[in-house]
Structures are given as C-alpha cells and as structure tokens.
C-alpha cells in the first residue's frame, strides 16, 4: 500500500489495536537527551537536541553521517516536499520533491538556516543531500525527481502551524512570549527578502505548551534571496508584518539588527560560497553575497529604525 511508509509501526489488517513494542513507552520518554548545561535561548526555543544538531549541520554544506530514505509521499505544496528518515530514525523533510522551476529551493533553505544559525535564530537545521539512483516523479506536478535536495530537521517532538487553534490554548504570558521571536525573525526575513506569509503558514509552534514561553520556528525559505535578487542592491524593503495580533518588540528588533550589522562579511559570504554548484550555480553567488552584505550594512534603514 502506497501509504504504508507513512504509518509505519501501525496496524495489521483486521487487528488495528496491535501495538509495536516501541509504543509501550510513553512518547515523552522518546525525547532526545538534553544536556543539563544547555544554554538558555530567549529567542531560539528549538528543542535542545535540534540546537545541537544545528551546530553540526550549519558548519558545512553536507552532513555525511546521515543516510536518508524517503518515508512519505510528495506533498501538494509549492516545493513538493516529502518526509525522510535517516538510519538512526531521525525524521526530516526534503525539498524540492521534483525539478520545479528556476527557484533554488534547496540552496535557499540551506543558506537561510545557516545564516539564522549565525544569529542564533529559530530556523531548524538544514543539510544538503544528493539522492542516488532513480527518483520517482512527483505525482502531483508530474515532473521528474530532483536529486539535489535540502533536508530540514523538525524543531520539536510535536508541533503545528501558527493559528487560532494553538493561540486559543495559550495563557496571556505565553502570548506575550511570542513577541520576541517574531520581532527577531522580522529582522531576519527583511535581511534575506523572505516573502512567505508567516501568519497563515510557514511558522511552526511547539504543541507542548506547558506553562513555558512558546517555541516558534520559521520554515520555508525557498521564496527569498535569489528568487528576488537578480542584480546587486535589489530594492526590496522590509518584510511584511504577518502577525496583526502581536505587537512588535522594538528592543528585540534593535538587538537583532545590531547583531546582524556586526556579523563579519566573511562569515556571511562563506555560508553562500560553500554551497556546491549542483545546488547553487557559481554565477549566482556574487549577486547573492553582494545583496546580503549591502542589506546587512543598511539594515537599520530597511527596518525604518
């Protein structure tokens, strides 16, 4: 059955109550070990194990210690993404799911994640991966598979898209806790000209609310960077503010703008220039780096602060 890989460890026909051995352990016990001395992240509330993973993945284009296999069908989204799993059962999502267009989906996802890591902002880690062998066509877009993908890790054990359902579960302090990461990411999205509507999709919320500050993760950066930057000093203004119920935190905006301004040019350029040409043609890199550096230098004006 085509869906069987989406529901692994589930059912046997006629006896849907069979429970694999792994299910006998409460889900909370599957939480990856978190070091006791894990740093406190005011803006970046990704799972501690995911932050550790990002330290590795953001240091290089590839993470050769992972061997990935497809674990789901292509989704019907713009990038035809599909779920993947590695040899140690780490889950992720791969995109693009087929050869789509001239947008450098995989390179943009990787570069955005690595740049966010430089600022310790809540974008899940991304690594580049080359699928070997024959690839299936995307059943929705009816286009051939793309062997050069980006694989994103998920941010927490359990999450959902930002929206009314989860907002209605939050207490006032938790709603207030959304301001800082959203304000910080507005600076980041402005820097790299990210255009996704974050109020409707593309913003993930940790479903384990408890009484803690709410975890937010920002995903889907295909439509950013060279999607809009075809020349140096591209005239893209500040990102839209997608959260009408959330008041911008000016102190956080200034804090991240300063942090961004002080990033070294070499670190920013290095993130782009190390992406192999199969994911990002060499000819596209100078314009991308030039825009990142000029917008970094000009970030206060872009933000209107």
């Amino acid at each position: 059955m085509a869906d069987a890989d989406q529901t692994q460890g589930q059912e046997q026909p006629g006896d849907p109550t069979i429970v694999p051995a792994a299910e006998l352990i409460p889900a909370a016990e599957f939480m990856p070990a978190q070091p006791a001395d894990a740093p406190k992240h005011d803006l970046n509330r990704l799972d501690a194990s995911v932050i550790l993973l990002r330290e590795t993945w953001s240091s290089a284009p590839h993470a050769p210690e992972h061997t990935w296999t497809r674990s789901g069908l292509n989704r019907t989204t713009d990038s035809s993404a599909f779920d993947v799993i590695d040899q140690r059962m780490l889950r992720g999502t791969a995109k693009p799911g087929c050869k789509l267009d001239h947008v450098r989906h995989a390179a943009h996802e990787k570069i955005a994640s690595d740049l966010a890591a430089l600022l310790d902002l809540p974008v899940p880690p991304v690594t580049l991966y080359h699928w070997p062998g024959q690839l299936p066509d995307c059943p929705h877009k009816r286009k051939p598979g793309d062997p050069y993908v980006a694989i994103s890790a998920w941010p927490w054990l359990s999450f959902e898209e930002y929206g009314d359902r989860i907002l209605n579960k939050m207490n006032p302090d938790q709603k207030e806790s959304l301001r800082a990461p959203i304000s910080a990411m507005w600076v980041f999205d402005t820097w790299i000209s990210a255009q996704e509507d974050r109020g409707a999709k593309h913003t993930l919320v940790n479903s384990m609310l408890g009484n803690n500050p709410v975890g937010l993760a920002f995903i889907d950066y295909a439509f950013s960077l060279s999607k809009f930057w075809t020349v140096e000093k591209s005239p893209h203004a500040a990102a839209s503010w997608w959260f009408p119920l959330i008041q911008k935190d000016d102190a956080v905006v200034r804090y991240i703008a300063d942090k961004l301004y002080n990033l070294s040019d070499d670190s920013v350029g290095g993130v782009v220039n190390r992406v192999p040409a199969q994911w990002l043609p060499e000819a596209a890199k100078p314009v991308m780096v030039s825009n990142l550096l000029s917008r970094k230098a000009d970030i206060n004006r872009l933000l209107g602060i």
Binding site: Q8, P16, M31, V50, L73, H140, L157, I166, L209
Partner: protein
C-alpha cells in the same frame, strides 16, 4: 445514429489517512490512527467522505502534547469542522490536498493517493451517477477503515448535487 451514446466523463478519486505523529524527531515512536478521507468527482457529481474515530484510548491521549489532549479526546468533534471547511473551501477534487497542506505537522493528513476512477462510473447513466459515486467511496472507506482504524468510528458524507435531474 447509434441508439445510445455512452458518455465519457473525467474525474478524480483520492484517498488519505489522518494520523497523529507523537514524536517528530524520531521515527521509532507511536503514531495514532485517527481517520480516513476520500473524495470522488465525476462529471457534475462530487462526494467527500470521512470516517474518524469517536474516541482515543487513555493511553493514546497520554501520548499527546497537552495542547491537543482536549481536542483529540473525541477526534470526530475536531475533524467535523475540518471536513466541513474542506468541503466548502476546496475546489472539487482538491479537498484532500487542501487538508493535507493544512495538516502536515504532528497532525498529518497523508498526501492523497490517486485511485483509478472505476470504469462503470465513467459510463454510468446520469441518473445513477451520484448514487454510484457515493457507493464507490463508501466501499473504499470501509475497506481502508478495516485495515487502519480502531472502532467505533463516525462517518460523515457530503455530496453534490443532492439529486441529479431525471
């Protein structure tokens, strides 16, 4: 002129499962089966059917993050609203894609599988078409339900047009 012209109709037939993934960081962890969805469009007819569990076991509820425990204690209540929205908002043939795009996180509507449209639907008389379409979807749902969903379940059916003019 032939005595009867056999109409040939275009359409689509999709099938998805609904499940909750309790750990998105590791694949070796529980996934809770919640429901089945199927949509069939043929000619002017459209039918959307959902079978969803009426309740979860206490152990399954214990696997859920706190923000989902109330909404999924009775999955049919939550999914009723999602089903109605998909029927109202999505274009015919796109309801499962719509739900899949909106539920791609821990709560997952598996990307739809495309099934072959039964030949008898392509050639059916107009007057029989809607009933045949509903029957086809119900048979598919029940077969899939037996393989995937613990009982009891709640089944919801939408169809349009309500009647085909004779």
């Amino acid at each position: 002129m032939p005595a009867a012209v056999i109409p040939l109709r275009a359409g689509s037939f999709t099938l998805s499962r609904i499940l909750f993934r309790t750990n998105m960081l590791s694949g070796n962890t529980p996934e809770i089966p919640l429901g089945i969805l199927s949509e069939l469009t043929v000619g002017a007819c459209r039918t959307l059917v959902m079978s969803v569990r009426r309740e979860l076991t206490p152990r399954e509820i214990g696997w859920l993050p706190n923000s989902w425990q109330e909404d999924l204690a009775e999955p049919a209540k939550y999914w009723n609203g999602q089903f109605d929205q998909a029927w109202a908002v999505a274009a015919p043939g796109e309801a499962l894609s719509f739900l899949s795009e909106h539920h791609a996180a821990s709560m997952l509507v598996v990307p739809p599988r495309y099934l072959a449209l039964p030949p008898e639907l392509i050639r059916a008389e107009d007057a029989d078409l809607l009933d045949m379409a509903v029957s086809t979807v119900m048979q598919t749902i029940i077969k899939e339900q037996d393989a995937f969903l613990p009982k009891p379940t709640y089944i919801e059916v939408e169809k349009a047009p309500e009647k085909i003019a004779a």
